[in-house]
Symmetry: none
Subunit: 403 residues, 2 copies
């Protein structure tokens, strides 16, 4: 039996509060030469104190060897089995621009692309169209009349990327990609993969045909490629599963969207790292689980910038006293996945984590919060979704199982 | 696939013998200041020698964050998935007084309680009735005539606690609690939760009504509250699953009962710690798995008594040479759950374990048997039920899997 099923049964509401501080892409690999990672190289007196007083470990976001996208990474982080719930590309893109997707909406990611005189794709990204160009063309596409009973939303993501959303009764989402994902091929016809999606496929085909006519005179962005048709997954909320009253304190739309998928409350987004403490205090009274998300560690990793990643970590460390000031009973610091600076990309390596809860956890003797320190930690190496179980127990939010 | 399913397939009978020494509630947390636990503070030359020659690790009785009752803790200890088999309160209480429960018997735990003139509960425990009072009233309740074809057993547990058992054909066990678990409420009517339990609910309702009349004149214990109706779970025995010939050497009825649930042989209970070596020798010839249970570590933890817990551990250590004298091939020392002295209660923290089997295990360099020592152990951190797989392998009781 899945231990999380037992955790769900035993979950109980208490007044204790959990800070769930996520440094996106925090995990990294030791640098040749000095063996340092951005985390171990950073001066982090506050994180180190939490590690010394708490319990550390390493967690696999999805499973050994599996590199997670942001969707599966955050599902693991929120205690869900990332293999059980799929979040399609279209939904992730819609969520990522904070589009208020409703159950049953069908969302697809699109690219503006370039096709030649014979309709063959010559550039899948239309020369990485500047975002203002994207916005101008999206306004053109919005003039395409919607079919009866259907609302059509065309949204800019950035550069060549956009989102198409269809809203209406009885629209299936099982439609094949029109993006063949290679240059020289023609865009594919959208095909219904089940009977419920036949009308959707027809609407998409007509939309693409009209878009082709409207964009025909454009030098670069003269066609659309669609992929990742999907609808909002039905995910039981953290309140339903674990009786939590969770709130999201995140700046980036993507992570706000992922938090919304699991039912977190969504106060206005803080604009800067320094705004996080005030954002927490504002929602303190009504919540017991505070998801705080810092994006810049991942960005630095994606850019291959060891030094900037180290600096971001130090900035977060300096912010910690203010973050902790309201008085959490339990603090977790971890990541949704590793983004080693040498990879410039997400990776499959387990993420470091610390769990702080005075008198409630096994103080394991780890002296510094780092990948290497966590290797000797009392939490061991576990699937990431179990970290929430450890934190709930430390917060007194799990009743005894069985007589 | 669950690895234990493969273990079951590969299990083979051999002459090698396993000592399965359980110090109830052994696991603890480091004490602020010196960082010691009762186990690490105890002088345990014999346990330390076993750890030095063996392999150590930490094990989660049920799963991360989950605090087990004695039932789930022992299921994990005996290699079962504790989420798969539920042992209801009534069955555990029956088992705990060594009542010879049969398959199909319906058992419920009851409290003597006090109700006021309007039938509202004023004390759920009838002032923690002395046990002799309980025995006197149980004798009164035994005069209630049994319905046709049904045997009714009323048994004292201790203080205000007792057990009701119904035996007969076609008695379902899905009956709701009559204990509302709060003062000021009236006892609830027992309700059948499925059709098979309708007769049971009617019998219970009549029994409670008659008990109310018989107890009406009592000053304190003038009513009964019932909860945890259940029947013996169908659990495949250790002989069936793993071809073991297990025997239980335990003093306390509860643990004897749990061992009986998985099919262990049950020689007369030794009365004292010092009787354990002789008890083992007496049953040496017929068995290959010796479950030896020591209760007092848990008791000291529940009482919040660091020093007494340490002393009990030292007493067990001193007894080890005599326990080991018959010559086991494999020795395991572990616990069913942690009972940190600072919690005065069971907790979710993993339990320390050592596995000793000369020439058969990875000698991991752990020098002392302690929670911190086990953190660096070769067995790592695993679900508790896998500890049996490790021990069976060390005992040569698992054949190679696959060609």
């Amino acid at each position: 039996m899945d231990p999380m099923a037992i955790v769900e049964r035993q979950a109980q509401r208490t007044d204790s509060r959990i800070l769930w501080l996520v440094l996106d892409g925090l995990g990294d690999l030791p640098r040749p030469g000095d063996g340092l990672t951005p985390l171990s190289a950073a001066a982090t007196p506050n994180l180190d104190r939490l590690a010394q007083e708490g319990c550390c470990g390493r967690f696999d976001p999805v499973g050994p060897g599996i590199t997670p996208g942001s969707g599966p990474g955050h599902l693991g982080l929120f205690g869900y089995d990332p293999g059980k719930y799929e979040i399609g590309r279209g939904v992730l893109s819609a969520v990522g621009i904070d589009f208020p997707l409703r159950p049953g909406d069908v969302a697809a990611r699109f690219n503006f692309c370039t096709v030649d005189g014979e309709g063959r794709i010559s550039d899948r990204r239309a020369g990485r169209l500047p975002t203002p160009e994207n916005q101008r063309l999206v306004a053109v596409l919005r003039t395409i009349p919607a079919p009866p009973g259907v609302e059509v939303f065309v949204e800019t993501e950035s550069e060549h990327r956009g989102v198409l959303v269809l809203r209406g009764e009885g629209l299936g989402h099982r439609v094949s990609d029109t993006d063949p994902q290679r240059v020289g091929a023609q865009p594919l016809a959208p095909t219904a993969l089940d009977r419920e999606s036949e009308r959707t496929a027809a609407i998409v085909a007509e939309f693409v045909a009209q878009a082709g006519r409207l964009l025909a005179a454009e030098a670069r962005a003269n066609m659309l490629l669609l992929r990742g048709f999907d609808t909002l997954p039905v995910i039981p909320s953290l309140a339903q599963r674990l009786r939590l009253r969770p709130v999201c304190v995140a700046t980036y739309p993507m992570y706000r969207g992922l938090a919304r998928l699991v039912g977190m409350a969504m106060p206005p987004a803080p604009q800067h790292l320094g705004d996080l403490p005030v954002a927490i205090k504002t929602v303190w009274a009504e919540h017991d689980f505070f998801f705080v998300h810092v994006k810049y560690t991942d960005k630095a990793g994606e850019d291959g910038d060891f030094e900037r990643k180290r600096q971001v970590i130090e900035e977060v460390d300096a912010l910690l006293p203010a973050l902790l000031a309201p008085g959490f009973e339990v603090v977790v610091v971890t990541a949704d996945h590793s983004t080693p600076w040498s990879f410039k990309a997400h990776s499959w390596h387990p993420v470091p984590a610390l769990l702080w809860a005075p008198g409630r956890v096994f103080v394991d003797g780890v002296q510094a919060f780092s990948e290497m320190g966590c290797l000797a930690g009392g939490l061991g190496r576990q699937p990431l979704r179990f970290l929430l179980a450890e934190a709930l127990a430390a917060a007194g939010k799990l009743a005894k199982f069985g007589a």
